[in-house]
């Protein structure tokens, strides 16, 4: 599920937004990836102040997909406060004055999270990458994690040693549907054979183990986790240079709560909480080599 999905489609976004202008409210606002413009309405960012903006009064309802993958969640249980995204959600809740027991989790498949109409959560936290095209359909918070893409393969296969930009093009890649990693394969690596596209990350891992694909691309923390703990004989080959991609919390279009959540994220960034959580859960290995796609 790792939903680092994204963008690139600037031209599409412009087109889509232009057409959207007839009869809908999201004419031009979608092009900023930060949803902070919607914050004007937020009176005060306290427990009492945000009540009228909540999906359920008295509780902060947070959505995510199932299964919830490590290292973003642990034990497929978002409510245990472990894993980076679970911890971030509880930290944001605390900043807004909620107790841990007042945080409710809602199951939200990624494919449904951007459906029109009312949301059944206050925000969705699901490794969703921010992109201008996507921001025409939903509102995103500011970044809570800046993402780089990494390459995972089986030990001893050719791609582990042969991955110059020209060589990379010759492999069969696989990835999860709709992810920014898939977009990265197509836009940056540009392989000569069409990648295989699976429903879940688990399917992708299975395909790698049965040699149906030579490698897959995913965000560095996930790649690190899979290669070190999940698939024996797999290895994180390298990571790719940053494309400016980042994860944002997903809100219903124009949800005013994003203002207070962005303030909370800014506080967590300033007081070092986010980087402490990154160190604790995401184990960024600075020794990972970076290669050009």
């Amino acid at each position: 599920m790792t939903m680092r999905r994204m963008l690139i489609a600037a031209a599409v976004a412009a087109l889509g937004t232009g057409l959207a202008a007839c009869g809908s409210t999201n004419a031009g606002s979608g092009v900023t990836s930060s949803g902070s413009t919607a914050s004007a309405a937020a009176a005060s960012c306290t427990y009492a102040g945000v009540q009228k903006e909540l999906y359920t009064k008295g509780a902060l309802t947070v959505g995510t997909d199932k299964p919830a993958y490590p290292p973003w969640f642990e034990d497929n249980n978002p409510a245990n406060g472990k894993g980076y995204e679970s911890a971030v959600a509880y930290a944001v809740a605390k900043q807004l004055g909620f107790k841990s027991s007042q945080v409710k989790w809602a199951y939200e498949p990624f494919n449904d999270s951007y459906a029109p109409g009312p949301k059944k959560f206050d925000f969705d936290i699901n490794e969703i990458s921010v992109s201008p095209a996507r921001a025409t359909a939903v509102t995103f918070s500011n970044s809570y994690y800046d993402v780089q893409q990494a390459l995972v393969a089986l030990k001893g296969t050719p791609i582990v040693t042969k991955h110059t930009p020209a060589e990379l093009k010759t492999y069969i890649f696989g990835d999860q549907v709709g992810t920014t990693s898939l977009a990265f394969i197509n836009s940056a690596i540009q392989p000569t054979q069409t990648p295989k596209v699976y429903e879940t990350l688990n399917d992708v891992k299975q395909a790698l183990q049965t040699h149906q694909i030579a490698a897959f691309v995913t965000d560095t923390p996930t790649a690190q986790y899979i290669s070190s703990s999940e698939i024996p004989h797999s290895v994180m080959v390298a990571q790719f240079p940053s494309t400016g991609e980042h994860y944002g919390l997903l809100f219903g279009k124009g949800d005013p709560l994003v203002g207070c959540v962005n303030k909370a994220l800014a506080t967590l960034k300033a007081n070092g909480t986010l980087s402490a959580l990154t160190t604790k859960y995401l184990q960024i290995y600075t020794s990972v080599p970076t290669i050009k796609p």
Partner: protein, 292 residues
Amino acid sequence: MEAQGLPDLSARRSRILGDGDRRGLILSTTSTVVVLAALLAVFLLAPGSGQVRHTFFNPADMWQAFVGNPKAGYYSVGEALWLNIRMFVAAEILILIAALIVAVIRQSTGPVLLPLRVVATVYVDVARGVPLILVIFAIGFGVPALQLRGISTQSAAVYGVAALVFSYSAYVSEVYRAGLNSVHRSQVAAARSLGLSGWASMRYVILPQAVRTIIPPLLNDFISLQKDTALVGLLGAIEANKAAEIYSDTVFNYSSYTVAAILFLLLTIPLARFTDHLIARDRARRLAGAGQ
């Protein structure tokens, strides 16, 4: 074949429109227009109408999804449909053959063939009872895991077609069997008394009559098969539905699914009309035969 005194072939049309007189025509037209207009009004006046139209029916998004742009992370839904068509045609041919074999085995009566009959019966029970999606997963992920040379390195589409053939052959064999049973026993007796062997009477007497009866239900199954090729997307093959999903996940707009739905309709509606045509023709023939 238009024997006199029989309902003409346009009977089918008058059944759709109601009784054929002028007043009926006006009434049926008016009620159709009113119902359609009411539905359209509800759709257009609903509070979220603008948003739904933008999310599901945005022409710009539909066009982008149709032509695709791999560098932006999504593929052409139109091009992906070609894979559906190829899988459908390959599966259909294999199903017609496999299902016939299964049906003939199940209809056989010789004591020597009992083990085959048991196998065929168990196969039909299992293949019809397991959801197609699970069969696709089992074959698509299980066979490659076996690491058999030549078999485990096929494309996702091949495993998908194998799963479709496995599942659909069971259904279609039952259709064949119904067709074979619909031919009266006296036909076999007559054929055998003319000196035809068991096989020859099956080939020249039973099957031709059975197949004519089952063409409409067969086509019905194949319309269903056309749509179910979309499930092969689960294995990583980029067919129309998968391409639409990739588009919608990439830009958060579902219009691509509308494109896929339209393309599937363009595939299935001609087949549905053709089925109707065959049913009407067969009906006319039978009535004509009865009148002689």
